[in-house]
């Protein structure tokens, strides 16, 4: 209790710095750079104060009892088997509080997971042992369609090699995103379960092989460099499975994306920058196993 109390006190003192950005800050949360992350933070803060008060009240009372009711000669213990009124009170009160918390939490949960806005930029995020690849729309502004059942080592994104859009897609190892615009990520895995985790986004979502997780979107509120981490134990190289995230201005983003789109579309004569060779249709078909995933 004592040690816990000291640490809690230090946390309480530092709680003013909760949302504050500060390097070397070992008490508060890391900076929050998405709109939905702010909603998560507000619930964390609310539960922090709620549980903090409950902790201090119950532990305070408990420690007081432990001191006051220590054995003293001539003072016998009080004979009591309990009190039903008290039982009803301390059953009902937590029930109301917890249910209210569940309802409030789930309203925020629904809000965070409402469908991505129409102006969202869709990026295909593909995870594998042990790295990440991002696929951006080509010059047409739309991602080439993919099918999770077609994901193979030769066709890591599960796209259709016959589709002209496929070659236009821009492939990147960095997640570059424009600030202020909703980003809709389609999460995929080529082998085991990985997870898309960015502490500064307050966002965790598993990438499940054989499926497209299509409900994750976010909107950055400031520019900066961050890291995408895998946070689901995925094998030997798990600890180092990361990718750079660059949040840049819309202008800089276009400066980054447009030349790549043009290059892939053959607007400027340059060799394709797509790192993965598209397999021949016959080979792709023979390697395509049956799957249960949903098709995009």
């Amino acid at each position: 209790m004592l040690t816990g109390g000291i640490f809690l006190a230090s946390v309480l003192m530092a709680s003013g710095a909760f949302a504050e950005e500060r390097s070397g800050n070992v008490y508060g949360l890391p900076p929050c750079v998405t709109t939905t992350g702010l909603q998560v933070d507000s619930i964390i803060k609310m539960i922090f104060w709620l549980t903090g008060v409950v902790f201090l009240l119950t532990q305070g009372t408990y420690i007081y009892y432990l001191i006051v009711y220590r054995r003293r000669p001539g003072v016998p213990a009080h004979y009591s088997h309990g009190n039903n009124t008290l039982e009803i009170i301390w059953t009902t009160a937590p029930t109301i509080v917890f249910l209210a918390l569940a309802i409030y939490s789930n309203r925020v949960w629904e809000e965070i997971h409402r469908p991505a806005p129409d102006n969202a930029l869709t990026i295909d995020v593909s995870s594998y042992q042990f790295g990440w690849q991002m696929r951006y729309p080509g010059i047409s502004g739309k991602l080439a369609p993919m099918d999770v059942r077609k994901i193979t080592p030769q066709n890591p994104f599960g796209t259709d090699p016959e589709n002209p859009k496929t070659a236009q897609d821009v492939i990147s190892t960095d997640l570059v995103i424009p600030v202020g615009r909703p980003i809709h990520v389609l999460l995929h895995s080529r082998d085991v379960i990985h997870s898309f985790y960015v502490p500064e986004f307050r966002l965790y979502q598993d990438c499940v092989p054989g499926r497209t997780i299509g409900w994750v979107w976010f909107q950055a509120t400031q520019t900066g460099d961050f890291q995408l981490a895998c946070n689901q134990l995925c094998g030997t190289g798990h600890y180092n499975m990361k990718a750079p995230i660059k949040i840049v201005s819309e202008e800089e983003f276009q400066k980054w994306l447009t030349p790549r789109q043009q290059k892939n579309a053959g607007v400027t004569p340059a060799p394709s920058s797509v790192p993965v060779a598209a397999p021949s249709p016959a080979k792709a078909a023979s390697l395509t196993g049956p799957g249960t995933g949903n098709t995009l």
């Binding site: 949360l29 009892y65 213990a77 569940a102 949960w109 965070i112 499940v208 409900w215 049956p290």
Partner: protein, 595 residues
């Protein structure tokens, strides 16, 4: 009516049988006395010594992990070179795949080979017959078989270190398809042995549970109604029911991994119409009741110890029982809270968060009742009481941190961070292990006939209490700072580098916690043979086990006791002594309060 009859006949048979099978009073017992013994008290000791071995082993692995997290890539001093090459490199520093092995085996061993055998194997076996006035378990041979299945599963688990590829590194949760596809995990043999070990371990739990349930239902002494049973018996009885319902699911799921790994099935592999999430649903359908399997017995043991040393009846005995029953029931409909962000349907996540919030209520009820139990008591501070008192505080911290993760949006951030590591160590170490320590000290006089060394006991308590909090409290901050669990080197992430001082603090705490265990182990080994002789009832307790003196014969009670009232009649006004044993009738002028 038939209940008492069954009990009497079995007790008689066992008492007669004891003169043939046991060597009490006939000089030194042979080796078989320790290896194959159907006496529930001896089986409890078998479980205890095995679990203490695994505690030291699994704890040492935690220390190796803590070393790596505080000083990534630095060779482990002194013992680094002694560790196998599946874990360390030539310099004696932990390699990433070795770290994954440590993560996996630490979790698996502490859950299945330390906490479960200590709570259920030791105290289930030792206390149930003695507390309900029975001669032994309903099926004594099955009981010993349960221990040997446990021992076999331990051998299987440890043998995975020596097979090609080494022990598995897929976490104690062994998420498919990492665990179920050899190309992904690189340790198909180790993973198969891991699954086989859990399968056999499950058989041990199931045979034990069958025994506990049958014994409690059919072999209670005359007058021992269900609502006169001591709370540890209630807790372990309910736990046994959870075991019967939850363990087969894990066994089946583990068998499917064995099939996937070795026989070409694709239950968990999407390319063969399998479903990765199927494993998670099966695992957590077992895994969440498992959490309560590990905490219910601890709650029962603590309730009794708090009552004895406060010299007061347990506050709200019936509320305590109903709270445990509702925890047991609700425990089966909250598994999805491990899967809010697994790719499961989002509305389902919301539904599971409601049941998760509801299950916090019975835990709150129990906490309030523990506080009610010490309220206006006459608290006698002994080593077991200190651990029981600390249990309540640690459980409160673990319970409150659980509320964060029960909230779906918060889980979006703290899922799989060190926040969850802090949370479940507060519940499983601060909760279960503290209760285990309390219970071992409390029943040590009954188990060994001797008293433990008090000074060593207090050293153990204070070191454990201080270093436990020093180890695990900063992990809340690490988690809120964004540090992922199960990563071999946090310094590869820019945003985690600033948290490194906290990792060093946790590691210093863990080293202290490791040292704290030494006086405990020495104390029980030394005192078992050399401690001062214990009186039959050193704590002035009311329950039946304290009415028999050491050495307790096979068959326990010379005459089957009759029970007259509830278990916790302390400080009854008008009585000369401040406790009224269950087998003593209250004098005519005394009215006992209904409980």
């Amino acid at each position: 009516m038939s209940t008492s009859l069954t009990h009497d006949s079995i007790a008689t048979v066992e008492t007669h049988g004891s003169s043939h099978h046991d060597d009490h009073g006939h000089g030194k017992p042979g080796i078989m006395h320790y290896l194959w013994n159907t006496d529930h008290k001896m089986i409890a000791l078998q479980f205890m010594w095995s679990a203490v071995f695994f505690l030291l082993f699994g704890g040492a692995m935690a220390l190796a992990m803590r070393w790596q997290l505080a000083f990534p890539g630095h060779p482990i001093p002194v013992i680094g070179h002694l560790l196998p090459h599946s874990v360390v490199n030539d310099e004696g520093a932990i390699i990433p795949s070795g770290y994954n092995v440590l993560v996996t085996m630490h979790g698996t061993i502490l859950v299945f080979f330390v906490a479960m055998p200590l709570l259920i194997g030791v105290f289930g076996n030792f206390l149930i017959p003695l507390k309900i006035g029975a001669g032994d378990m309903a099926f004594p041979a099955l009981n010993e078989l349960s221990y040997w299945l446990f021992a076999l599963s331990g051998v299987l688990m440890l043998s995975s270190f020596w097979v090609p590829g080494g022990a598995p590194g897929t976490g104690w949760t062994a998420y498919a398809p990492l665990s179920s596809v050899a190309a992904y995990n690189q340790t198909p043999m180790g993973q198969t042995l891991w699954c086989a070990a859990l399968f056999v371990n499950g058989l041990s739990s199931i045979t034990g549970a069958v025994n506990y349930i049958t014994t409690v239902i059919t072999m209670r002494a005359p007058g021992m109604t269900m609502f006169r049973m001591p709370l540890p018996v209630w807790a372990i009885f309910l736990t046994a029911i959870l075991l019967i319902l939850a363990i087969p699911v894990l066994s089946a799921a583990a068998a499917l991994i064995i099939f996937d790994l070795n026989f070409g099935t694709m239950f968990y592999r999407p390319s063969g119409y399998g479903q990765p999430l199927l494993w998670q649903h099966l695992f957590w359908f077992f895994g969440h009741p498992e959490v309560y399997i590990l905490i219910l017995p601890a709650m029962g043991l603590t309730s009794e110890i708090l009552s004895v040393f406060s010299r007061k009846p347990v506050f709200g005995y019936k509320a305590m029982v109903w709270a445990m029953i509702s925890i047991g029931f609700l425990g089966f409909i909250v598994w999805g809270h491990h899967m809010y962000v697994s790719g499961m349907n989002l509305t389902l996540s919301a539904a599971f968060s409601v049941s998760t919030m509801v299950i916090a209520v019975p835990s709150a009820i129990k906490t309030f009742n523990w506080m009610g139990t010490i309220w206006r008591g006459s608290i006698h501070y002994t080593v077991p009481m200190a651990f029981a008192v600390a249990f309540v505080s640690m459980f409160v911290i673990g319970g409150l941190s659980g509320i964060f993760m029960a909230s779906t949006p918060v889980d979006l951030f703290v899922h799989h961070t060190y926040f969850i590591v802090a949370h479940f160590h507060y519940v499983l170490f601060g909760g279960s292990m503290f209760a285990i320590f309390a219970a071992i000290y409390f029943w040590f006089p009954k188990m060994s006939g001797r008293m433990f060394n008090n000074t060593l006991g207090w050293i153990h308590f204070w070191m454990t209490f201080v270093f436990f909090n020093l180890t695990f409290f900063p992990m809340h901050n690490l988690g809120l700072g964004g540090m992922m669990r199960r990563i071999a080197d946090p310094t590869v992430y820019d945003c985690l580098k600033q948290l490194q001082p906290l990792n060093v603090v946790c590691t210093i705490g863990a080293m202290g916690l490791g040292l704290a265990t030494l006086p405990f182990v020495w104390n029980i080994i030394w005192s078992m043979r050399n401690g001062p002789k214990a009186p039959a009832n050193p704590w002035n307790s009311t329950t039946l086990e304290w009415t028999v003196s050491h050495p307790i014969p096979h068959g326990n009670f010379a005459v089957t006791p009759t029970v007259y009232h509830g278990p916790y009649e302390y400080s009854v006004p008008g009585l000369a002594k401040d406790f009224l044993p269950q087998n003593e009738k209250a004098p005519a002028h005394i009215t006992l309060e209904a409980h």
